[in-house]
Amino acid sequence: MILPAKAFQRWLQGIAPDASTADVCRVSGIKRTTLAQQLVRGKVSVTTVVSIARAYNVNPVAALAYFDDFRELAGPLPPPTRCELISQISTPDLLQAALARPAMDTVGKPGPQPPALSPTPHATSVKNWVDAIDDGEVRHRVSAATGVAPQNYSAQLTANRLSPELALATSRAAGVGPTGGLVATGLITEEEAGWPPGARQAALDSMSDGDLTTLAGDRLQSLGKVLRRQEQDQAQTEKIWENLG
C-alpha cells in the first residue's frame, strides 16, 4: 500500500520535528535515493514508515494509524484469536511441540522440552493465517471488497506475501483484529502488534494432543505437496536441459 507523501511529511514533522531527510535516512537505514524517489513521486511505502517509526522509537502500529488507510489501527485493538496465534507458529515448532507431548511416546514419557518458538513470521505464515480465519467465504469477500482477482490473491498467499492493504481487508472480511495479517506478513512483530508476550506459546500449550497432532499432520501434508511440486518442476526442467540445453 502507498501512503501520500503530504501526510507522510506531516507525520514525520510530528515524530522528528527538526530532522532533515538525510538524518532520517541515516537513523532509519533507508537509502537516501529510495526515500527521495518516494517523496518526489508523492507515494511513500508502508515499510518506509515502519522503518522510520522503529528508528525513532515510535510503535509502527501507532505510526501507521496516523494515515487514513490505516485508521482502524488506532485505539484499543482486539487481541488476536487463538487460531491466529497458532497459525503464526512455524511448522518445525509445531512438530517439535507435538513430539514433546507424552501422548506421542508409546511408553507415555514426554520427549525433551522443545526450544522457545521462533519469532514471526514463518515460511508459510501468510497462507496459514488466512486458512486459520477463513470461514470458507473470506477469499470471496476480500476479492469483492478490494477488486483483486481471486487467483491473484491466492498467488500472493502461495508466495507467502500479502500487501498491507489486502492484509487489512482480509482481517476485516474475517471479523478479526487488524494486526494479524501485518504480523503474518512480517511487516510488524507480534510485540509491536500488542500481542501479549507468550501468547503463541500459551495457545500452543492449550491445544489437546489430538488437535496438535492433527494440525502438525496437516501442515506436513501441505509442505509435502509443495516440496513434491518443486521436485516435479525441477525434474521437468532437467529434462528440458537434457534435450535442448
Binding site: R229, D233, Q236, T237, K239, I240, W241, N243, L244, G245
Partner: protein, 245 residues
C-alpha cells in the same frame, strides 16, 4: 529490407551454431548444434546469391530447392523430437515419430518430389521464381510444390503448439517459458504460411516476414533455453560455494 532480414537471420543462426561448437566438442548434447547447423544451411539456400552458386554446382535445374525442402524437413523433424521429449509431450512425440508422423512425412515427400519433376525447372532461381514465370502450368505446379514444402513444417508446428502453450503457463523458469512462447509463435507463423496461396501476389513481402519470423523465433527460443541452462548451472555453482564456506 528483405535482404537485410535474410542475412541477419543467417548471421543469427550461424553464430548460434558456432557458439554450440565447444559443447559439441565436449560431447554434451549434440542435437541442438545439428539443429542450428541445419537451419543455417536452410537459410543459406533461401538467399538468392548462395542459392545460385550451389544450384549451378548441382546442375542448374533447381535441385538445390528440393534439397532445401528436405533440409527444412530434417530440421523441423529433429526439432520436434527434441522439443517434445524435453517438454514431456508424449502424445505430440508419438504424432511425430509414430506411424501417423511417418505417413504424413512420406506422403508429403512423395508428392513434393513428383511435382518437382513434373515442372520445367531449368534455370537456377531461389524460390523458383524463374520457372514459375515461364508458363501458366509451371506457375500452378510451383504453387503446389511450395504448398507441399510448407505442409510438413506446419504439421509439426501444430503438433507442438499445445505443449508450448502449456509450457508458457507452467511454473518453469521464466526464460524457458519465454522460449516456449517464441517456439509457439514460430509454429503459428509456419502454420500461417499454409495460407500463402490465398494472399495476393503484391503482398510478397508478407511471406518473407512470416517465414523469417518463424525461423528467428525458433532460433532465439532454442538459444534462450540454452541460456537458461547456463544461468541455472551458474547459480547452482554459486550456491554450492556459499554453502561450502
Amino acid at each position: 529490407m528483405i535482404e537485410i532480414l535474410q542475412w541477419a537471420t543467417l548471421a543469427v543462426c550461424g553464430l548460434t551454431a558456432i557458439a554450440r561448437v565447444p559443447s559439441l566438442l565436449r560431447g554434451e548434447n549434440r542435437s541442438p548444434f545439428y539443429i542450428f547447423a541445419l537451419m543455417t544451411l536452410a537459410i543459406l539456400l533461401s538467399i538468392e546469391a548462395p542459392y545460385v552458386v550451389i544450384d549451378q554446382a548441382l546442375g542448374g535445374i533447381n535441385l538445390a530447392n528440393l534439397l532445401l525442402r528436405f533440409v527444412i524437413f530434417a530440421t523441423i523433424f529433429f526439432l520436434g523430437i527434441r522439443v517434445t521429449k524435453g517438454f514431456g509431450a508424449e502424445g505430440a512425440y508419438r504424432l511425430i515419430t509414430g506411424r501417423a508422423g511417418m505417413i504424413v512425412l512420406l506422403a508429403i515427400s512423395v508428392a513434393m518430389v513428383a511435382v518437382f519433376f513434373l515442372m520445367d525447372t531449368a534455370g537456377s532461381s531461389a524460390g523458383l521464381v524463374g520457372p514459375a514465370r515461364r508458363d501458366a502450368r509451371n506457375a500452378v505446379l510451383v504453387e503446389y510444390y511450395g504448398a507441399a514444402g510448407r505442409a510438413y513444417p506446419s504439421y509439426i508446428s501444430l503438433v507442438l503448439l499445445p505443449a508450448m502453450v502449456r509450457a508458457v503457463r507452467s511454473r518453469l523458469p521464466i526464460l524457458v517459458r519465454i522460449a516456449a512462447g517464441l517456439l509457439a509463435l514460430g509454429g503459428i507463423a509456419i502454420a500461417l504460411s499454409l495460407l500463402f496461396p490465398f494472399i495476393p501476389r503484391s503482398w510478397d513481402a508478407v511471406e518473407f516476414v512470416v517465414n523469417y519470423t518463424a525461423v528467428l523465433c525458433f532460433v532465439i527460443g532454442l538459444a534462450l533455453i540454452w541460456a537458461a541452462r547456463v544461468q541455472s548451472s551458474k547459480s547452482v555453482r554459486r550456491q554450492g560455494t556459499s554453502t561450502e564456506k
